[in-house]
Symmetry: D2
Subunit: 350 residues, 4 copies
C-alpha cells in the first residue's frame, strides 16, 4: 500500500527490459546515436509537429532549463503559489536563469487564476527597470494538488501570455496523467493551446529516469544545447534515456500506465467518498487524491503498512480539517494494484 | 572496432541485470532507500573510512559541484591545461561556483607540473583582492591523455595544496583504470595521499549512468545536499544509480572491468609499438592509447569499420606528426574484445 | 516644490565643499587612504563599537552585497512585501547571492508582521532540501511607506532571527530620518537590538553618492572585500566617498539634515490633516507623506509646479481612495524649504 | 613624486568645481535629468554618431557589463594575457556574464597577437558544445603596459572578430591617453575600426568617478538598462557623474589632461633613456613608463618620497633585469608636475 509518491515505484517491466536490451553494443555518445534520433522522431510524431527534444536528468532540470532559455536580465516568471518550481526545487529555476525571480500567483484548485495573473503581470510595465520585467509563465499539468487544467483554461492563460509576448511553459511531470484525464491529444494539450515549452516527465509514470524538454518551435531552442551542457545535464550514454522513452511510447504504453494510475486513484476517490471516517478534501482528476481522514483511521492505515504523506492544510481553507482529523495525500502509479487500493479503503471502514 | 570512446559502450550485463531486478517494488525516493544506504555503506568499505557520497547525473556535474562546494567569492581553481574541466565542460565548473575561475597549469604527460603549480599559486597572494584567491586544485586520474599520476606524484601535489590550505579534488572519470594500473587501493590513491574530494566515475567503466561525489571528510559535505538539489542533480528514483553501483562493486566487478579495458589497451600498445606504419605518440598506462599512424593506415582502419578520433597535435610537440601521418586516440572499455584489437592492428600491417 | 523623491535633491553645500577640498593632492587608492581610514574610525565612534565598513555605489549594492555575504546554497531571505529589495532592485539581491530567494512577508504599516514572519520561517524546516532554507531577514528603517519600526519592534524581529540563527539586515536608505524620528542613537537602533548588517545610506540625506555597508561583527565581514570587488563596487578614488561622509558626520550635520527633512514633512502632515480636499492616507513618522487628495487639487499642484508621484492604492485597502481622489507620495529632503511646503499646502486650500 | 598610479590623483579643479555648481537645485533621478541628457548628446558629438551611453561606478563595472551584454551560455571572451579583466578584476567579468570564460591570448608589447588570436578562436568551432563558444574579444587601449594599438592594429583584430561575428570591446580606462598618443579622433579609434562597445574611463584622467559604457550601435544596448540595474550600478543622483563629464568634455579639457600626463611621461622616458642607472624596460606611448633601475636608485627615490610600484618581470623576458636591478612602473596623471618628474630623474643621477 505505497501511496507516498509515484516516484517510490521502480520502473515498468517493459521499460526495464528495453534498457537491458539496449545495454549491448556500441553507439555514439552525447545524444547522437541512432536510438536517440529515433526517439526524437517519435516525439515529433507524438506531438504531430517538428519539435526539438532535450533529455535531462530530473524534472527540476527540465523546468529550470526551460525557463532559463527564455530569461532576460531582470526577468520574472509567473507561477502558481503552490507550483513545484517555487515550492520544491531549492531555488534551481532562479539559479539556472541568472536569478530571474519567480512570482507566485494564487488561484483555486491549484491553478493560476487568470484575472490575478493579468493583474500581477500589469504590475510589471515594459521598460520598468526597477521592478524587473515579465518574461514567462509556467503552469503545471496535472497540478501539484491533483487537478487538471481544461483545454480552454490553458488557452486562457496562453492568451494572456501572448498579449505580453511571454513564453508559456508547462511543467508536465504528470503530463500523461493529465492527458488521459482530459482525453486530449498531446498536441491539443500543448502547442495547439499556445504552450511554447514542455517539461515532459516519464519518471513518475514508469521510467527509471526519463525527462525531456520539448520546444514546439525548434528555432527557439538554439541556445539549449549550450544551456544544457553548461548545466551538466548532457548524458554521455544518452541512449539509456532514449531506450526508456522508446519502450514508453511503444504501443502507447505511457497512456496505458497513466490510465492505470488514474483508475487506481478513481478507486480511492470512490471509496473515500463513501467512507464514514474520510472524505475527499477537494476533487482531483489525475493520480493524486487528497483526503481528510480521522486520525485514528490514518494510524490504522499506517499500522497496516500504508505509506502516504500528511499534507499541510491550505491557508485559504483553514477549516478544512477538524481536531480529530488530518489531511493526507495519496498518490497512485503504474505499480499500484487494486489490492493496495482495497486494502487501504478497508482501513477507513473500521 | 569501437575505439572512439569508452562512453560508446552500453552497460555491462551484470549491471544491466541488477537494474532490471531493482525495477520491481517500491522504495522511498531522493536517496533515502535501503539500497541507497547499502551502497553508501559499500563506498565506506571500498575507501576504508567514513565518506559522504552524493550521486549525480554526469561527470561534469561531479566535477562542477565538488569544486563549487569549496569555492569562495573571487576563488580560483588550478587544473592542468588539458583537463576535462577546462576543455570539455562548457563552463559548467565556473557556472556552478559563482564564476570561480579555472587557471590552467601546464605540465608534461598530461599531469600538472608541481613547480609550475607552486609558481602559479604564488601569483595569487592571500588577500590580494584584485587578483582573486587560490581556492582549490583539481587533478585528473587517469589523465585526459591516458597517463597516470603515481602515488608520490599525487602526494607532491597534495603537499602544495596543504601549504596554502587549498582543497584537492580528483576527477576520477577513469578512476578504476588508474587504480588497477597502479595496483593501489582506493584509499591509497585518494585520502591517504591528501585528496579531499573525488568525482568517482562508473559510467565509462560499464555503468549506464553512475557518478558519485565522494567527500573523505563528511564534515566538509554539509552544504552539498543543497548544492546538489539547487543544481537539479538530485534523482527521485535514486536507487537506479544505487543498483548500478551495487553490481559494480559486487565481487570487485569494477576492478575486473577496468583490468580488461587496460589489458585491451596493452594489446593495442604492443601492436602499435611493433608496427611499421604506426608508433605510440607517448606512453600511456590506462585504457587510452595515442598513436601516430600513417594517413593511409588510418583510412584503411576506418574503411574496415574502426571508429576513433583524430586528435589535435599538442602545441608543445608540433613535430610529433609528419605530413603523411595523423595523431589518433584509441579508447578501450569493458566491452572491447580481443578480436577488435587484433582487427585494428591488422589494419596497421598493410 | 519638489516632492518626487529625496534623490532629486543635489548635495548639501558642506558636503559638496568638502569634496572640492579633497580634490587636491594624492592619496593611495582602493580605500587605503588616510581619509578612508579616518572615516572608518568615525563610523566606529558613531556606532559606539568596532565595525567593518565598506563603501559601495548604490543602496541596491549595499542591500544586495550585505545579503549575499550571508547566503548559502538554496538560501532564502525574508523581507516585507513592499520592501525596496523585492520591489525596486530588478533582482539584484538574488543576482549577487547566487539566486537566493526573497520571500515576502506582509504586515501593516509597511512593517513585517512578527507572527506572520515566524509562520513563514517555520515553513522552511532545517535540512528541507527541496524548499530551500531560511538564511536572513531584512527590514527597512524608515520603511518604504514612511513609517518607522520602534526599538521594541526591531527587537521582536531580531529575537525571531536569533531563534533560527538568521542574519538580520537593516536597509537604512533613510536611516537618519528614522533615527531622529525615534530620538535613538545609531547603536540603539542597530546592534543593541540585534541587527547584524546595515545598509547605511547617505545619498538620500544630502550626499551625492555615499552608501556604506556596516558589519557590527567585523569577523563576519571577511568575505566582503572579495564580494565587493567581484561585484565591481570597489572605487579606485574611494576617498571621494570618504570625503562626503567626513562632512556628513561633522558636527552631526547628518542628523540636522534629517531633522530638517522630517520637520518639512511634519509641515505637510499638519497642513494635509487640516485640509478639506486632502487627508493623510496613513500616519508616517519620517520624511515621506502619503496623502489622499482630490484629483483637482492634485492637478492644481502640478500646474503650479509641484512634482510628486501618484502611488498605487495598497491591495489591502482598496477603499482608501474615492472616485474623484488619488493617492500621492510626497518626499521631503534637506533641500526642501518651508516656502515649498507652504506653496504646496496652498494648492490644497482652493 | 606620486607615480604609483593615475588613480592616486584627486579630481581636476574644473571638474570638482563643476560638481560643486551642480550640487544645488533639484533634478529627476536615475539618469533622466536634463544634465544627463545633455551629456549623452555630448557623447554623440564626441564620437560623431548616435551612441548609447551608460554611466557606471567603476572601470571593472564598465568592462564586466559590456562583456555581459554580449554573452551567451558557454560563451568565451578572448583577452590579452595581461589584461585588466583577467588580472585585476577578481572574476567580475565572469560573474556578471553567467560565468563566461576569459581566454588569455599572448602577444608582445601588451597587445593581442592577431595570429595567435585566430588560432585560439579556431579551437572553438561553432556548435562545439563541450568547449564553449567564442563570443567576444576585448582589447585594452592604452594597454596595461603603456603601449598603444595603432589604428591598423585595431582594424586587424576587428577583422578577426567580424569573421566569426564576435563582439569587439575596448577597455578604455586610459582611452584619452591612447587617443592623444595616436593623434586620432574618438571615432577613428573605435567604431570606424570596428569596435562595438567601449569602456570609456574618466576617473584615471581627472574625474572623481566617471565611467561610461558606450555602445556604437544603440540597438545592441537594449538589454543594458536591465543589466546595469540588476548589477546595482544605476546611480540615483546620476547627474553627479554627468556633471563631471560635462566639465571633462568642455573645451576639450579631457584631451588637454591626457596630453599633459603623456607629456610628463615623455619627460620620464627621456630622462630614463639618458640615465646611467636606469633604462626603459620597453617603449611606451601613453602615461605609463616601465623602467629597469638599479636597486640603489630605487631606494634613493623612495627615500626622497617617490611612490611607484615594483613590477613582476614578464615571464617571456626573464633576463630583463639583472641581480642589482628592479623593474618599476611609473604612472603620470593630470596632476603630475614637471617638478615631480625632474625630482624623480635626479634620483637616477646619483
Amino acid at each position: 500500500m505505497y501511496f507516498a509518491s509515484d516516484n517510490w515505484a521502480g520502473a515498468h517491466q517493459s521499460i526495464a527490459q528495453r534498457l537491458l536490451e539496449a545495454s549491448a553494443g556500441f553507439a555514439s555518445a552525447y545524444g547522437t546515436s541512432d536510438l536517440d534520433k529515433k526517439v526524437e522522431a517519435r516525439f515529433c510524431e507524438v506531438f504531430e509537429r517538428e519539435v526539438a527534444v532535450f533529455f535531462v536528468a530530473t524534472g527540476t532540470a527540465a523546468n529550470s532549463l526551460s525557463l532559463a532559455s527564455v530569461q532576460r536580465p531582470g526577468g520574472v516568471t509567473f507561477c502558481h503559489s503552490e507550483a513545484h518550481v517555487i515550492e520544491d526545487e531549492c531555488g534551481a529555476p532562479e539559479f539556472f536563469s541568472g536569478s530571474a525571480r519567480l512570482v507566485a500567483v494564487p488561484g483555486e484548485s491549484g491553478k493560476i487564476d487568470p484575472a490575478r495573473l493579468s493583474a500581477k503581470i500589469s504590475s510589471f510595465p515594459e521598460d520598468a527597470v526597477h521592478h524587473g520585467r515579465a518574461s514567462a509563465i509556467t503552469i503545471t499539468q496535472a497540478t501539484e494538488i491533483g487537478t487538471v487544467y481544461s483545454l480552454p483554461e490553458i488557452g486562457e492563460i496562453s492568451a494572456i501570455a501572448k498579449k505580453r509576448s511571454l513564453a508559456l511553459h508547462m511543467d508536465g511531470a504528470r503530463f500523461a496523467n493529465a492527458l488521459v484525464a482530459l482525453g486530449a491529444t498531446p498536441a491539443e494539450m500543448t502547442w495547439k493551446r499556445g504552450v511554447d515549452m514542455l517539461s515532459f516527465g516519464g519518471t513518475k509514470n514508469g521510467c527509471w529516469c526519463a525527462e525531456a524538454i520539448v520546444f514546439f518551435n525548434p528555432d527557439r531552442a538554439k541556445e539549449m544545447p549550450f544551456i544544457r551542457k553548461r548545466a551538466a545535464q548532457l548524458f554521455s550514454k544518452s541512449r539509456f534515456i532514449a531506450a526508456q522513452f522508446d519502450a514508453y511510447f511503444k504501443n502507447d504504453l505511457w497512456l496505458d500506465l497513466a490510465r492505470h494510475a488514474n483508475s487506481m486513484a478513481d478507486g480511492l476517490r470512490g471509496g473515500i467518498g463513501a467512507s464514514n471516517c474520510a472524505r475527499l478534501a477537494w476533487p482531483t482528476a489525475s493520480n493524486e487524491v487528497f483526503a481528510v481522514v480521522t486520525k485514528s483511521a490514518a494510524r490504522t492505515a499506517e499500522n497496516r503498512g500504508a505509506t502516504f504523506y500528511e499534507w499541510p492544510v491550505p491557508a485559504a481553507t483553514p477549516d478544512l480539517v477538524e481536531g480529530n482529523e488530518t489531511l493526507i495525500r495519496l498518490v497512485t502509479s503504474f505499480a499500484t494494484t487494486k489490492a493496495d487500493v482495497d486494502g487501504f479503503l478497508k482501513c477507513l471502514a473500521t
